[in-house]
């Protein structure tokens, strides 16, 4: 073994142990990097969870927007049907009705069809030709309308021909006794879902799916033609919707793509099975941003780690390994037996100085390492601070988004409540007050007025409601085009005004108020202008474009309700006039349908119903065909003959007379079939006129005539006869006197009779006069 070889071996051995030291140094560096990596992964995981929650909330909000939209469509259909049910065209013949409805359908293209169904289920009138009946098993609304006599809707179902989902809404057409004459219906297709989705500019990959209670797809955005009609009850998302009805989840969609879903019932209500809408946001898109962030952070961390390791490696070699190697070489020379050299280490610069310098360098190197570590730590702290700030900023953004969502939700709820309130009132003035109060509250306005055009022929505006102002001191009427309100009505647009320093002063209750900003909003429904709502603020706060949008939207809704109220009032007024005219008629007038049910009976008919006069239990007001009356008449055979003629021939037209035996009252009755212009039998009309007074007058007259003939002629015969004998014969005085005496006596008798007749003639005239009852 040579010293040289020893030295090499020793050097190799020291290298090995020293390289272990360097490995530990590298491990230390890695150990420092590890918490950074952990923090990074934890942050990334939180962000992914946050993104997933946000996507689910967004999906649920989207599903609810769809559901609110469906509710609005349902309300709109209800409003339309209420108006339709009052329309005279709907009660008229098929042709008029068909034309009216198809015209209406052009104005409401959202609906697939509008129509009228008879109580038997036959479609009597339809905007789209070809529909002849309503399939009760499929639609469901019809029975609800008949039994509740109110608005009802059916269930969504797949239209066999069209390959789309449709739902029907129905509303009863009632007669003035509250019976269902027919049912008007509107058919709505689910096409609006795709229109809504297209308008909403959804994130690419977003889906909207409408499912029925059995898991059949009723509507899908996008690719409706691929999915509608397919029954997929075992698809994971369908199972989740059917089990939970409303909520949010992560699941694979119908097409197998994982998404975040929000779902809610689309239309729920009594007697109708549920339909749901599910909105899906693609998982990949929702988590794209956190993934990208994580990748970037990992790359940066990897780069920093690699640089640090290289620096540690190089630094270890220059500052640690090389001096240690030199020191070791000196130590090996010492161990070779050079003792002086060993002691020289403490006192001289030689090996000792080198060793101390090596140690100093080693200490320096260690100090620098420590400094580097401290700097690294500071960097780490800085990064943590940065991340914390980023997180705080993200949290702030989230809170802001949540606040704007809450605001939007309140707005939607306000709109919904406004609609509800308006639907609950049909009287024009009361409705005007509700509308104005709501408009003022929604616009944060202090005062307001509503001038209305109630009558289409009269274009002047009449004050119908005021808010915060003394209505007695406001102009009751405005001419067309007068003032800003009149201008808004004529130009059919919103007119805004601000007054600045020269404020407009108006009388409020007990004081004057100064208006700063005004807004005049026309109430428009189709071509029709219902009036103008004016709202104003006392404070100097301009109406923002958002305020104006909101008010215009509410005004449009209000105009629909006001228009309905006007139509309803007009229909009621006309009906009450018709009723009053009928009731003022002396003749009894009654109408029965072909089944014998009373459709109409005026007050005189109620009084003159033969069944009621003779006291038959449960007699109808119009009982012209009741054989039970016959036995109470003076001539039952004649009465039964008339009844039989009416029963055997629907086209029988004629009149008969009958006398009620007990009271001696006699009546003339006329009857004829009533048909609509198409010749369809609507029923039979009866008119009854009381003849009792006429008959009595005739009887008295005939008695009087007999008396005149008999009673008057007798004394006249004596007077005439004796007078002729006096003239013709030459008689002695006694006979002449006797004859003259007789003539005188009979003349007195005649005078008495004539006076008596005069009294009886007056009696006849009195009894022949029309009865005051």
């Amino acid at each position: 073994v040579t010293p040289h070889g020893d030295a090499r071996t020793g050097r190799a051995g020291s290298r090995l142990s020293l390289s272990g030291l360097r490995t530990r140094l590298l491990l230390l560096v890695l150990l420092v990097l590890l918490p950074i990596l952990g923090l990074m992964l934890y942050t990334a995981l939180s962000e992914r969870r946050e993104a997933a929650d946000k996507a689910q909330r967004t999906a649920l909000r989207l599903a609810r927007v769809v559901a609110v939209n469906q509710e609005q469509l349902s309300d709109e259909a209800r409003q339309l049907l209420i108006t339709l049910a009052q329309a005279p065209q709907v009660r008229s013949d098929d042709v008029t009705c068909n034309v009216y409805l198809s015209d209406l359908l052009r104005r409401w293209p959202r609906y697939a069809n509008l129509g009228v169904v008879a109580p038997g289920g036959t479609v009597v009138c339809s905007a789209v030709p070809g529909q002849t009946s309503v399939d009760e098993r499929e639609s469901g609304f019809f029975e609800h309308v008949l039994s509740n006599r109110d608005f009802a809707r059916g269930e969504y179902r797949i239209d066999g021909a069209g390959g789309r989902a449709i739902v029907e809404f129905g509303y009863p057409v009632l007669d003035d006794r509250g019976r269902v004459l027919s049912v008007v219906f509107a058919m709505l297709s689910l096409d609006w879902l795709n229109e809504l989705a297209a308008d909403a500019q959804l994130t690419p990959g977003t889906t909207l799916t409408v499912l029925d209670h059995g898991g059949t797809v009723l509507g899908r955005y996008p690719e409706p033609e691929r999915w509608i009609g397919r029954s997929l009850p075992t698809a994971p998302i369908v199972e989740a919707v059917l089990a939970r009805r409303e909520g949010a989840t992560e699941a694979r969609g119908l097409d197998g793509i994982p998404r975040f879903y929000g779902f809610t019932p689309l239309l729920d209500g009594p007697g109708v099975r549920d339909v749901y809408v599910a909105a899906g946001m693609p998982r990949a898109a929702a988590l794209a941003e956190p993934s990208r962030q994580l990748k970037r952070d990992l790359v940066v961390l990897g780069a920093i780690g690699a640089l640090t390791l290289v620096a540690a490696w190089a630094g270890g070699y220059f500052f640690l390994l090389r001096p240690m190697d030199a020191l070791a070489r000196a130590a090996r020379r010492l161990s070779a037996g050079d003792l002086s050299a060993r002691t020289g280490l403490h006192h001289e610069r030689g090996e000792l100085g080198e060793l101390s310098q090596t140690f100093d360098e080693m200490a320096d190197s260690l100090e620098r390492r420590e400094e580097e570590l401290r700097q690294l730590n500071d960097e780490l702290d800085e990064r943590v601070r940065e991340r914390t700030a980023q997180l705080e900023s993200a949290n702030h953004d989230l809170e802001q988004a949540l606040a704007s969502l809450t605001e939007e939700k309140e707005r939607v709820e306000a709109l919904y409540q406004f609609g509800e309130q308006m639907a609950s009132e049909s009287e024009f003035q009361a409705l005007s007050r509700i509308v104005l109060t709501e408009l003022c509250e929604s616009a944060a306005a202090d005062v307001g007025t509503l001038y209305a055009i109630e009558d289409e022929s009269d274009l002047d505006l009449a004050l119908s409601a005021s808010h915060g102002l003394d209505s007695d001191r406001l102009p009751a009427r405005l001419r067309t085009g007068e003032g800003l309100a009149g201008r808004a009505a004529v130009e059919r647009r919103v007119v805004a005004a601000s007054y600045g320093e020269t404020r407009l002063r108006l009388p409020a209750f007990g004081e004057e108020v100064s208006l700063q900003h005004e807004l005049h909003v026309p109430l428009l429904h189709g071509d029709r202008s219902l009036g103008v709502a004016s709202v104003a603020r006392l404070a100097d706060e301009v109406f923002s474009p958002g305020d104006v949008d909101m008010i215009e939207h509410l005004a449009a809704q209000a105009a629909v309700a006001l228009s309905n109220a006007v139509s309803l009032a007009s229909a009621r007024r006309q009906a009450s006039i018709n009723r009053a005219v009928l009731d003022a008629t002396v003749e009894g007038i009654g109408l029965i349908d072909p089944q014998g049910n009373t459709l109409l009976a005026n007050a005189s008919m109620e009084r003159m119903s033969p069944g009621r006069i003779v006291g038959i239990d449960g007699a109808d007001a119009v009982d012209g065909r009741s054989p039970a009356v016959a036995e109470h008449t003076a001539d039952p055979q004649a009465y039964l003959g008339a009844v039989e003629a009416i029963e055997s021939d629907p086209d029988w037209v004629g009149a008969d007379e009958y006398e009620l035996a007990a009271s001696g009252r006699s009546f003339e009755r006329y009857t004829a079939p009533v048909r609509n212009p198409d010749g369809k039998l609507l029923g039979r009309i009866f008119t009854i006129r009381e003849l009792t007074a006429e008959r009595k007058a005739e009887r008295l007259k005939s008695e009087l005539l007999a008396t005149v003939e008999h009673e008057l002629r007798r004394p006249l015969a004596s007077i005439f006869g004796y007078a002729e004998l006096l003239v013709a014969r030459d008689l002695d005085e006694a006979t002449r006197e006797s004859y003259l005496d007789t003539i005188y006596r009979e003349s007195g008798r005649l005078t008495t009779l004539v006076n008596d007749f005069q009294a009886r003639v007056l009696e006849i005239e009195d009894s022949g006069a029309p009865q005051s009852s």
Partner: protein, 132 residues
């Protein structure tokens, strides 16, 4: 009141009327011409007298209490002995229907009240002449 006539002496006339004044007038009219007058106050009495006295001519009021003049006339015409006796009908009613009913029942002439006594005499004489 009843004056049983001598059929060989004078022509007998049966006068049927419920009213005394009328009977007096007819009596005054016919008495003067020498007729023998029998008087009856109602339908039954008229029939009885006609059957018992067999007058040459009957003046019959249409409206009497009980059996009416038309009933009496129909009964007379059923009697073989009286079926050809001339009958002058008097009535307080002047309707065509009454006239036709009287002729149908077998009246020879018909006078409505008031009537002319002179016409009555002429009618009576005419009927009696025709019979003779």
């Amino acid at each position: 009141m009843l004056t049983p006539g001598d059929s060989t002496m004078a022509t007998t006339v049966l006068l049927c009327d419920d009213e005394e004044v009328l009977r007096s007038l007819v009596r005054a009219t016919l008495d003067d011409d020498g007729y023998s007058i029998l008087e009856a106050r109602d339908g039954d009495e008229s029939l009885e007298l006609a059957r018992s006295a067999r007058p040459d001519l009957i003046v019959l009021d249409m409206m009497m209490p009980g059996r009416s003049g038309l009933d009496v006339l129909q009964e007379l015409r059923k009697d073989p002995e009286l079926e050809n006796t001339p009958v002058v009908m008097l009535t307080a009613r002047a309707r065509q229907s009454d006239r036709e009913a009287a002729v149908a029942a077998g009246a020879d002439r018909y006078l409505s009240k008031p009537f002319s006594p002179l016409e009555l005499i002429s009618v009576v004489e005419d009927l009696l002449d025709r019979r003779a």
